[in-house]
Symmetry: D2
Subunit: 341 residues, 4 copies
Amino acid sequence: MQIGMIGLGRMGGKMAIRLVKAGHDCVVYDHDSSEIATAAAEGARSAKNLPDLVKLLERPRAVWLMVPAAAVDAVISTLTPLLSPGDVVLDGGNSYYHDDIRRAGELRTKDLHYVDVGVSGGVWGLERGFCHMIGGDTDIVQRLDPIFRALAPGVDAASRTVGATGKPSNAEMGFLHCGPTGAGHFVKMVHNGIEYGMMASYAEGLNILKHANAGLLAPAKTDAETTPLRRPDLYKYDIDLPQVAEMWRRGSVISSWLLDLAAAALRESPALDGYAGRVSDSGEGRWTLQAAIDESVPAPVISAALFARFGSRGEADYADRVLSALRFGFGGHLEKTDERH
Amino acid sequence: MQIGMIGLGRMGGKMAIRLVKAGHDCVVYDHDSSEIATAAAEGARSAKNLPDLVKLLERPRAVWLMVPAAAVDAVISTLTPLLSPGDVVLDGGNSYYHDDIRRAGELRTKDLHYVDVGVSGGVWGLERGFCHMIGGDTDIVQRLDPIFRALAPGVDAASRTVGATGKPSNAEMGFLHCGPTGAGHFVKMVHNGIEYGMMASYAEGLNILKHANAGLLAPAKTDAETTPLRRPDLYKYDIDLPQVAEMWRRGSVISSWLLDLAAAALRESPALDGYAGRVSDSGEGRWTLQAAIDESVPAPVISAALFARFGSRGEADYADRVLSALRFGFGGHLEKTDERH
Amino acid sequence: MQIGMIGLGRMGGKMAIRLVKAGHDCVVYDHDSSEIATAAAEGARSAKNLPDLVKLLERPRAVWLMVPAAAVDAVISTLTPLLSPGDVVLDGGNSYYHDDIRRAGELRTKDLHYVDVGVSGGVWGLERGFCHMIGGDTDIVQRLDPIFRALAPGVDAASRTVGATGKPSNAEMGFLHCGPTGAGHFVKMVHNGIEYGMMASYAEGLNILKHANAGLLAPAKTDAETTPLRRPDLYKYDIDLPQVAEMWRRGSVISSWLLDLAAAALRESPALDGYAGRVSDSGEGRWTLQAAIDESVPAPVISAALFARFGSRGEADYADRVLSALRFGFGGHLEKTDERH
Amino acid sequence: MQIGMIGLGRMGGKMAIRLVKAGHDCVVYDHDSSEIATAAAEGARSAKNLPDLVKLLERPRAVWLMVPAAAVDAVISTLTPLLSPGDVVLDGGNSYYHDDIRRAGELRTKDLHYVDVGVSGGVWGLERGFCHMIGGDTDIVQRLDPIFRALAPGVDAASRTVGATGKPSNAEMGFLHCGPTGAGHFVKMVHNGIEYGMMASYAEGLNILKHANAGLLAPAKTDAETTPLRRPDLYKYDIDLPQVAEMWRRGSVISSWLLDLAAAALRESPALDGYAGRVSDSGEGRWTLQAAIDESVPAPVISAALFARFGSRGEADYADRVLSALRFGFGGHLEKTDERH
C-alpha cells in the first residue's frame, strides 16, 4: 500500500523504515534533508517538499503526519489545498483529542478524511513495533489496515491471553480502532496518564529503597527542625538498586517494559547523576486529569504523579514559602531552626 | 495554685507569665538564665537548678516541662529521683504519644503521675491564651484544673456555639481532658495534621492566584518539553495577594487564624522572598499519617500536605531523576528537549 | 443607591434585606412570589417581572443576578433587550470565569457593562456580612462601591492586621476589586478550592480521632484479608469529638469559621448520622484544579480533596473492581479471603 | 539439595513441586493433609507433623515457612526446640521486616539462622518461576543458592539488559541477596508498594476510559448539586476496554505482567461485575508508606493508591459525613439539593 509520511524524527523515521521493510510504498518528507536521506537509503521515496509529496502519491492519498503537536495545524493548512476529495490525513503525533474533533470537522467540509492515531513505542518501535490507538470513520480506518498491521508488533510480541484463539484480532496485533474521531488520541492520552502513574510508582519505590540507609548516615544536627529518625536500627540497608531492578524483571508481579528500561538506566548509572530531575510533561497527563475531572472520576494517583513532575520543576516554590511564612507566623519558626509550637 | 515550670522558651516563658498574672505561684527554671530573669521580672520565683526547683515546691508537686521533645526523657530522668510519691510531671511539648504511654508506665512504678498536654497557640498565646489537649488520670487532671483554666483563652475568645448555654464547659474555655495517658498528645497530633492540610490549602490556592498571570508572561521557548498554555487569554490576571488575603478574613467561608497570619505575612512581603521555602516538619504530621494507616482511615489530604513538605526539602530528587531516566529510555527525551513519544 | 436584585434564594434574599437596611433602594424579583413578599416586608420594592424590574430602575441601572449558574445566560438574554446603554449587569452566582469573559464581550457590543462578583458567606451573610470578590472595569466597579460596602462585613469583623492603620481599605471591609472581567470569579473559584482543602483537612482529622478506639474494638476475624492492628494498645481512646471541636475554637492554630460550623454540627449529632456522606461539588473545586493544571502549579491537596468527594459518590467503583480483579488474577485473592501473595 | 517446606497453600505447594521437579529433596508439611498428598504425588516426601519433618531432614537443616504472616511466630516457637545448632529457618511469607529483625535475634541466641525471603509471582509461579528477595547472613544465603536458583524463573524469562553479558548474575536469574536480616522483606515490601501504585494507575485509567461516554448519558436532573458536564460533545466514546487492554500489551510503553492479567480479567467480564470492589490490603503498602515517612521521602502516588483501597472499604464514611455537615452548615446544602453558596 502507498503512504506519505511527513516528519521523520525519532518515531516517524523509524515508522517509514518499518513500512518500507514490510513492502509498502512510502513517500517521505522532512524539513531536515538528512532524515530524508536516511529513509531513502532504506527504500523510501523522497519528496522535495509537500507539493512534491502529494504529487508522488496516487488518489485516494493517505498522508501521515509525525510532527510535533504544535506544528500539526500549520502542516495541515499547507497540505489541504494540495489534496483531493477522498484523501486522508492521519495525525500520529500527541495531539489533544479536542483538536482532532475540530480538524476533522474542518477537513470534512473539503471532503477530506481525518484519522487520529496515538502511537506508543518510543524510539524502540523499529524493532519492537508500534502500538496504535486509532480514531476516525470505520471505512477509512479499515482501508488503512495494511499500514497499521505493518507498523504493529504482531501477535507474537506477547503470549496470547487465555481464551484468545483463532485468527488474532487487531488488538492482539497491537492496534485498535477505538471509535470515532478523537477516540485514538483519547485512548493514547489515558495510556500516557497510566504511564505517569506507573513511572511515579517505580520512582517512589526506588527512592524509598535508596534511603533505606537512613539509619547509617551521621545523624543530622540535633536542632528540632527535622524530626529525628526514631529507629535508626531499622534503616541500615545499602540496597543495590541496579540489581534489584534487574531481579524484579523476572517472575515478579511488577515486571514491565518500563522496569526493563529502569534496569538498563540503573545499570549504566546507579546514581542517575546524569539527570537533573527536572521532569517535563508533554500534555497528556494534564489532559487525562481534565477528562477525569469532567467525568467526575477520581484520579488521585495520576494527579499525584503529574503534580510531582510540576514540583520537580520548582513550581511549588511560592506555596512552600507561604508554608514557611505561616510557620514563622504562629511559631516563630525560622527555617531550619527550633520547631516547637 | 503552685506549679514548677521547666523550659522558658518561646512558649514556656509566656505560659509562666500568664500563670503569674492569673495569681498562681510559679517557680521557673531554664538553662538560659536570662529567660529566668525575664519571668522573674513578671513575678515568677527563680530556681537555680532542678533540685532547687523541686525544693521550692510543696507536695504534692506539679512540674510542667516545656522543653524540646528530644530533651524530655533526659529531664525526666534527672527529675524523678528528686520527686516524691504523688507528685505530677506534665509534658507540654510535642511528644509522640507512644512516649507518653511509656513514660507514664515508668513513673507509675515510682508512684509519680504523668500528664501529657498538647499546647497550641504558638508565640501568640500570652495575649490570645493557649489551647490545651490533656491526657492522664482524671483525678490528677482535675486537681490541675486552675492551671489549665488560667492558661486557656476563656469562653469569650469565640462566640458560643448555638445551643451552648449556662456555665461554659472546659472545652468552651479552651482546654479538654481528652482521655487517659497519651490522649492529649494524640489529639494535639491530629490537630497538627489538620494544620498541615489547612496550611497547604492556603499555600496551593495562593500559588494558583500568583500564577494567574501565566498568559501575560512571554511564552517559553517553543520546544516541546513543556506543554504550551492553550488559552493564554484566560490567564491575564495580576492578583494582589496581600489584599486578597485581607479581604477573605472578613465574611468568607475560609476565614481563620491561619489566614490572619497569612495576611500579616503577605502585607510585610507579597513575594515572601525572605523565605527559601524549605519547609520543616516537627513530627506530628508524620505521626498523624501513621495513625491513619494503623486505623485504615484514608488521609489523602494530610499525606499530600506532608509529602509537599518533604518535597520542598529536595527529598524527591532521586525519584525525579528516575523519571527523567525513564523518559530518556523510552522516548530519547533529553531533559528540556523534544517531548514526542 | 439604587439596585435591582434578581433571585431571592438563600443568599440573594438576605443580600436584598441587608441592602435595604443600609438605606439602599432595592427593587427585587424572584420567580417565587413568596420570596418577593419576604423582601418587600423588609422594605424592598417588588417587581412583577423582569420588564417591570427594569422599568422601576433609573438609568444607568445596576441589576444584580443571584440565580443558579446554569440560569445566568437565560436571564441575561431576557434582560439584555430591556436595558439601555451604560447599564450594568452583575452576576453574583458561582459562574465559571470563562463564562464571565464571554458574557462581558457579548454585553459590550450592546454598550452594557458586566461585573462578576464572587460572594462568600453562605446563609450566614445577613448577620455576618458577605465577602465580595469583584471583576470588571474600574470605573463601573467604583460606581457600585456603596453597594459592596453595605453588603460587606466591615472592618470590625476581624481585628486589624498589624501595620494596617488609618482608613480601612476596601479589602479590610471585606470586598476587593480583584481585576478585569473574570477576576472576581477567578478569586472566588480559588477561595472555594481552598475551602475544599480545609474541609477535607478537618474531615480527615476528625475521622482519625473517631477511629482512635480501633484497639478497643473486637478484633476482626483472623482471615488475612485485612492487616491486623499491630499495636491495639496504642488505639484505646474514645475521643469526644464535639468537645474537641469546641476546644479547638479557642486559642488553637486551627481555629476558623469552618471549625465553628463543625463544632455546631457535632454538638447537634456527634455521629452525624443524619448525613449519608454523598458529597456534592458545585464546580469551583474542579475549575481550581484545571487552573492549576493550566498554570503548571502543583495542587495535590486540593485535588485530593476533590477526588475524595468524587469517591464519596461511588465514582471509583469500576476502578476498585479492577483492583479486585487484578488481585484475584495474580494471587487468587477472592475479595475478603486469604491475602498472601 | 534438601529442604523442608511448611505450608503448602497457594504458593508453598507450587514451590515444593517446582523444587522437586528440579531434583531437590523436599520434605513437606501442611495442616491440610490433602495439600501434602498433592505434593507427595509430585515426588515430595510427606511429614506427619513438625517433629516428623525435622526428623526427616539431615543437619544442617533448612526449613522454609510458607504460612500466613500472622502464623509465623507460632510455627517458629514450635519448631525451635526441635532444631539443632546451625539449622536455618526461612520465612517466605509476607512478614514485616521489623519482625524479621526480632526473630533473627531470638534464633541467634539458640545458634539458629534466620533468612527472610520475599517471594513474588503469585499463583503463576509454578510455570513462571518465583522472584526472590533475600535477607540474611551471606554464608547462609549462599549455602541455599541451589534452592533459590531452582525456584527462580531463570535468565530466559526476560531478554538480557543491554550491557549484561557472560554468566548471568543471580539478579538476572530472578533472585537477589538484598542485604542483612530484613533486607529481603524490605525490598519485597517496597515491591508491593510499587505494585499498589501500578495497579491504581491502570484502575484509574480504565475508569476514565469507561466514563468516556459521559456525554452520551441522559443528563442528570438539573438540580445544581452536581456540576453539569460543560462539553458533552467531547465525551461520546464507547470504548471497548477488553480490546484496549489487549492492544496495549503489544508495543506500548505500559505493557506489563499486570496488564496481561487485566486483559485476561476484562476478556472474561468487561464490567467486572463479579467483584464488589472492596479492595483488601495485606500490609506491605502500609509499611512502605511508613518507611517513606521515616525516611522523609515523598510517596504521594503510593499513598494515594493505599488510601483508595481504604476508601473502597467505606473507611472514609465519617469524613464524608463531616463534609456534608459542613456544607449544610455554611450553605444550607442538603445532600443532593441546591448547591449555590
